[in-house]
Symmetry: D2
Subunit: 348 residues, 4 copies
């Protein structure tokens, strides 16, 4: 069985493991104030060109999302997100469990627009019983999105402007940030993110680490007492250096972007092969996730050999599935799938 | 200024006030276990034909909604509601503040259907990562709805069936229950509600009381320790008899339905008059709320004389407004508005 | 049965009722922005000598407590309170339900000291793993306390200083504020409170109103968006004028202090009578609540005639009970109890 | 610098690392349903003699505590704990952030008694305004406690009985379970725990793992939908096998108890050496944590060489510190400290 269903099927990149092994018996302080974590934080601030940013390492995405959102909102404030957003559909109500409403905006491709955000704020402002409605205070976007699409620098700049104008924090979920930046091919940088967002994270779990997300806080209001929130929400890792070490490995020699490009390249090969045999896609995108619409009989035929994530039924004979590549995907597995694809479509 | 903007502009029906005055210097126990509250609870159980129901009096609707929903859900469970539902759009995230997600279903007229509920449950059940999504456990409907429409007995029966089949509690917000039952003209009774819903409330605030909603709990799981929740959520009125006394006045001689019919009748007069001059409505309905689409210049002309609630812009020259009658609306005020209407439309 | 068990057995002072009756059929805006509420707010600001204070009316004490505390704390911050404090022992975890820990300080007489607060803050500051502990941010005190004691102006000044020094909000629960101020006989004024506290409330429920607490917010940080919180927590009364009208009646001609003095005077009569027959008290105090230690056989003998609140067992033959007077207590009932007291103790 | 300040200064036992390395490039399903996690769960059920228990792996202790407690309590219910309990003093209000009050019982040595629990339940039951107080529903104990003490089988049995009698869930925090069981030297077993507790966890973070706690749920009510809660609270590790693999390594050949005994043995050596030079202890215990009362001048002298955790000031010249051994502590480091100890005390 070859797994294309998600981008977290394997362990970690070997360079990550090496660092964990090499430091294993060293004694350090806990809770993320060890030398490795400090060094990794410094490195990330340099990458972002923001010496005064705060960096915190968290174990996973839901944890990062709920902690950041808790930091930014008072009880009656809400977070604007696409109705396809991870926090809205795939975190078991984690944000609501912290007391906050998600103000969901309609989205076809996983993205929301500056205009939609502006409209949402205006509607709130103009409501005569404003106090009876949730006050928008933060915008949550995913880069890349849950549908594999990306925000360009222009789009982000517009969103950033509208957020600043309306007093909203802009929060970018970067669980798949590497794959997005690789797809944008240098037109969007860590520095851009640090300039345009108030807080974002560099995802490790899906990009080469065993686990871990590096939260970069730029806005001063979000920095205050953030570690209290991490602890309270259950995200303070005792052996915090495990996170620092992994991000050191990923970021010190450009490994993060290198493996991200690898995944995007393999995804591109698959995308083109699918297109060649005439397959259409649920949504057009350029990162490590594809959403081809496949005949059910092909899915049936392949079900012991390849694992995909079922996305949704398209018609009586077709379904959209998610096909993921990752830092760990092997060229040979991609080749095999392409080969099988050609064979199957010849027979169709 | 004559207020048609809402149905809570005045104090209470005189019979309600009389009871408060008559008992004012009596000493009773607090917190809703006084003789008046006990008597009112008994009366409500009789009306509902449910001797084993539990009845609790709460001061207002948001309080009732958040307390009932807290009683029914574990932290990862959500409540299904129309996207026009009061809890979704007009309670400042009160439900989310208790930790629960609202699973909003699209609605044009304020109602949701059994089919929509079934689909929502099926989608959850069939999700391979079910545990990453909020589990539907309750359905919230308003009778009448925020758009003045009503559920017929047939519709309610279907919704009730689908709820029972899927293990969902059915909760009816009855802030305007009197106006709904009056409009349904005997085809839906308190007994029907007690049979079809797991919990519902008989609204007093908008139907003759100073304040107060009588929550009727039918499902045993929702009854347990409900008073703890009332207290915790800040809804335990020290002088609880104030609530019992008001519901006694409203319910003991049929006053509740009598004043509800009054409001619906006056609304019908307005509706017909509007229709006669060619006005259309945002939504068709039969209760005490109308949503006529009016020329902005008429609204401008009337703004010192009549108060309506602005609902939404329709086009560059027209807006939909909400016009409410209530138990307290005077025939002469309705006549005056109709007269003005005719005059204005002649001149248009 | 004559009730001395609490101070909320009756309805409202007649002047309060009169205002409700007189305005009953008037139409006003809802949610506390009607002319009566505005006037009452203005009056309260004048009483407090703080034109820039914000005043909000809430229905009850638990609601007021949870709303104010929610306004003042971020999720990881806690509120310091006496371990006898109402929020700690008698609100079913309402504060915790809003996500906040109560940092309970040991108290014998219901009061806490500036020194205890200072120590609590220092302990937090000096903790090496500070972020693993709840950060103190607010102090909650009751005036009068749950044990009927009062803070003098000197004590309050010390507490206020230590709060300001440590960046803590000082919040005074004034459910029985009238009885406290009356007992302090002019040595502490509303102006003093507005100067020393960041937020406090003037209790109506126990001092002549049907229900209602007037929250006075002095600190700017607590003012922001307070109405959103009121709505979210279920405390936004639709017919908000009911609250404004009551406080107008209570405060416009000095009625509030007049009826408070009445209650304290009757309590003093009872206290002296108990003392004369040799009864001791669980705690010494001067307001409308007494805590005499009585022989169980006397309690048994009186149980059909007088209602007291059981407080705690003292020894095998004695219990402490709470005896309350209020704005509504009749001199003749106090006389009767004193008479019975003398009779019983003669026979003992 | 030799660290004795805590038991999580190093990485993981080498056998744990080996398993992670060996499986690194394998593809498995995520979220804890991979073959390794399944095997580890099976092994734990066997150890506990409970085939029908549910086992879940969580990353850390605070996360485990808040998830389990959320699973067991309705909003108005609270958890009884020692006032020294980790959840009460060292988790930044994580439990309160989930909405629940901790009912803290006074404790000198970190333990609470069956009698204290019984009294707490009785007080609640007998309160006339029961609904105004938090309802006890769970008991939280730590084994070993935060002060290094342990509950014997007899004590646990008594606590278990009183819990069952009063309808309370018994929850044991086993962050240091290995050290407790080793100290009890076979008189308390995993099977005993599974019989006496409703839920407990086997701590990995402090006993040989990089991170991880294995939650064992015995009571059926706590099992239902537990994975939803894990996800919602941010504790669902994407690469869940990392947890399964570590517990496999720790438990399959008795490694867990072997390294626990090692830590306790070294602690015993230190304890005896301290005692020999005349040092007293804040509390008597037998596990891997010691709390010697040391002269400040000795602490000052050692501060560059040894790291201890400051516990509390005893008098003007003495402080209690925490000295920890762990699975990773080296005999040579213990020997060095003992040697230094002797030298220093000779000179005193």
């Amino acid at each position: 069985m070859i797994r294309f269903n998600c981008d977290y099927s394997e362990g970690a990149h070997e360079k990550v493991l090496e660092k964990l092994i090499a430091s294993n018996r060293e004694q350090t302080q806990g809770y993320g104030v060890d030398p490795y974590s400090m060094e990794a934080k410094k490195l990330i601030k340099q990458l972002c060109g923001k010496e005064d940013a705060d960096v915190h390492f968290l174990v996973g995405g839901t944890q990062a999302n709920l902690t950041v959102i808790s930091a930014g909102l008072r009880p009656y404030q809400g977070v604007i997100a696409a109705d396809t957003g991870h926090i809205h559909v795939h975190e078991t109500g984690a944000i609501e469990a912290c007391g906050h409403k998600i103000l969901a905006l309609s989205s076809e491709d996983g993205k929301i627009t500056a205009r939609q955000i502006e409209d949402c704020c205006r509607a709130h402002r103009e409501d005569m019983d404003r106090e009876h409605t949730v006050q928008p205070k933060m915008v949550y976007i995913s880069q890349s999105t849950e549908l594999g699409t990306v925000y360009s620098k222009e789009e982000l700049s517009e969103i950033s402007s509208v957020c600043r104008k309306n007093g909203l924090f802009l929060f970018m979920d970067g669980a798949r940030l590497g794959y997005a930046l690789a797809a944008l091919d240098g037109t969007l940088t860590f520095q851009d993110l640090a300039r345009l967002c108030d807080v974002f994270y560099i995802g490790g779990t899906k990009v080469g680490a065993l686990f871990g997300e590096a939260v970069v806080i730029v806005h001063p209001s979000l920095k205050e007492d953030f570690r209290y929130l991490i602890k309270q929400k259950g995200g303070m890792l005792a052996k915090g250096r495990l996170l620092g070490l992994q991000f050191l490995a990923l970021l010190e020699d450009g490994l993060y972007m290198e493996i991200s490009r690898h995944a995007d390249r393999l995804a591109r090969q698959l995308r083109e092969a699918f297109r060649e045999v005439g397959v259409t896609f649920l949504v057009e995108n350029t990162t490590n996730q594809l959403f081809p619409v496949l005949p059910d009989r092909v899915l049936e035929e392949w079900k012991e050999k390849y694992s995909f994530a079922y996305q949704k039924r398209i018609d009586e004979e077709h379904s959209a599935v998610r096909v993921c590549t990752s830092w760990a995907t092997r060229q040979e597995d991609v080749d095999l799938l392409i080969e099988d694809m050609k064979k199957v479509w010849e027979e169709l």
